[in-house]
């Protein structure tokens, strides 16, 4: 299970370059602190530098200051767990009672949202701005949101104009 750590404050020490690097690497382990090592000089003009300049080139700079966001806090975690817990009686009722507009409707909402949160966790872990770039990550996140909306629409349409999710599973399972 991926633990969401709270953002740790970036405290860049005012000591030697090697300690600055170490503290930057420590603070870069916080999930929401985007610390990038930046070059204070372009790579083309590296001739004639002293070792001091080269070390300064790797001084860590926060890419973005962290503004508080509800998603980064415990509300999101609570919501995710409550949603997951609600799926247990929902699936049980669906399996025991069979098709019913309320359980089918709830399934058509709860399951896509649960899937979305799972996919979002995988995107955060494997397709983050660090390896896809800022706009690559944005594209993936918004594509996921669009696909989830389509899935919600599809579930709603299936529940209202077709036989409903539970009945589909029952019929295709015993076809």
């Amino acid at each position: 299970m991926a633990l969401r750590l709270a953002a740790s404050p970036l405290a860049l020490s005012r000591s030697t370059p090697s300690l600055r690097l170490a503290s930057a690497m420590r603070s870069s382990s916080a999930l929401n602190a985007r610390v990038y090592f930046h070059a204070s000089r372009s790579t083309a003009s590296t001739a004639g530098q002293t070792s001091d300049d080269v070390t300064a080139a790797y001084q860590a700079v926060p890419y973005k200051t962290i503004t508080p966001n509800q998603v980064h806090g415990s509300y999101h975690w609570d919501f995710e767990r409550l949603l997951t817990i609600s799926m247990i009686p929902l699936f049980a009722a669906s399996a025991i009672h069979g098709a019913h507009p309320i359980t089918d409707g709830l399934l058509g909402v709860v399951v896509p949202i649960h899937c979305h949160m799972g996919f979002d966790a995988m995107v955060t872990d494997y397709l983050h701005p660090g390896n896809t770039g800022k706009w690559g990550n944005k594209a993936v996140v918004w594509t996921l949101r669009g696909v989830t909306v389509l899935a919600l629409v599809g579930c709603y349409q299936f529940n209202t104009t077709d036989i409903g999710l539970t009945e589909l599973v029952k019929r295709s399972w015993t076809a």
């Binding site: 299970m1 990038y36 090592f37 930046h38 070059a39 204070s40 000089r41 790579t43 003009s45 004639g48 002293t50 001091d52 300049d53 300064a56 700079v61 890419y63 767990r81 997951t84 817990i85 247990i88 699936f91 399951v111 896509p112 899937c115 799972g118 996919f119 995988m122 660090g130 390896n131 770039g133 696909v147 989830t148 389509l150 899935a151 919600l152 629409v153 599809g154 579930c155 349409q157 299936f158 077709d162 036989i163 009945e167 589909l168 019929r171 295709s172 399972w173 015993t174 076809a175």
Partner: protein, 164 residues
């Protein structure tokens, strides 16, 4: 730092040190794109391939993999149903059940097990995760006992579901 270099070079200019510093005045003008490109080419130490196989991380990985697999299937069905009218493809419950009815019985049971097992594993391991969230079974023994329980129960229930 620029000041000391400047002061040093004003008094004496050793060969190989430039007089004027070329560091950028504003740190915000730095582009990050070259660094991202560098990071893509940086080699990674082996991790998944060398860590000792253990029930803990194997089951955790399988939880994510099965969740992704079931979700992809669910999304494919739901999104397919939503966009099928626009593409002119007939995709509704009657079409699905009629296609499934043409499949031979043996293949159907095998397919049902292949569909059911990720679902039962993910559900039961999900309950295990929720138990951890209440701080239960948070010991090595607890993790392993619940782990083996999930493995056994998910296999048995998947077989039972496949034989319906």
């Amino acid at each position: 730092m620029a000041k000391t270099t400047f002061a040093k070079t004003r008094l004496m200019a050793p060969v190989g040190i430039r007089i004027l510093s070329t560091s950028q005045s504003s740190q915000k003008e730095v582009t990050v794109a070259p660094l991202i490109e560098q990071r893509k080419n940086r080699p990674l130490s082996p991790h998944l391939t060398i860590y000792q196989p253990q029930l803990t991380w194997y089951m955790s990985m399988f939880h994510r993999v099965t969740g992704g697999a079931v979700a992809v299937g669910f999304y494919a069905g739901a999104v397919g149903y939503a966009v099928a009218p626009m593409v002119g493809m007939g995709f509704d419950a009657a079409a699905i059940t009629s296609v499934i009815a043409t499949v031979p019985v043996g293949a159907k049971i095998a397919a049902k097990f292949i569909v059911a097992y990720p679902f039962t594993y993910h559900c039961l391991n999900g309950i295990r995760h929720l138990a951890w969230d209440t701080t239960r079974f948070m010991t090595i023994k607890g993790v392993y006992q619940t782990g083996y329980a999930v493995l056994g129960l998910s296999t048995v229930s998947a077989v039972a579901l496949a034989l319906i």
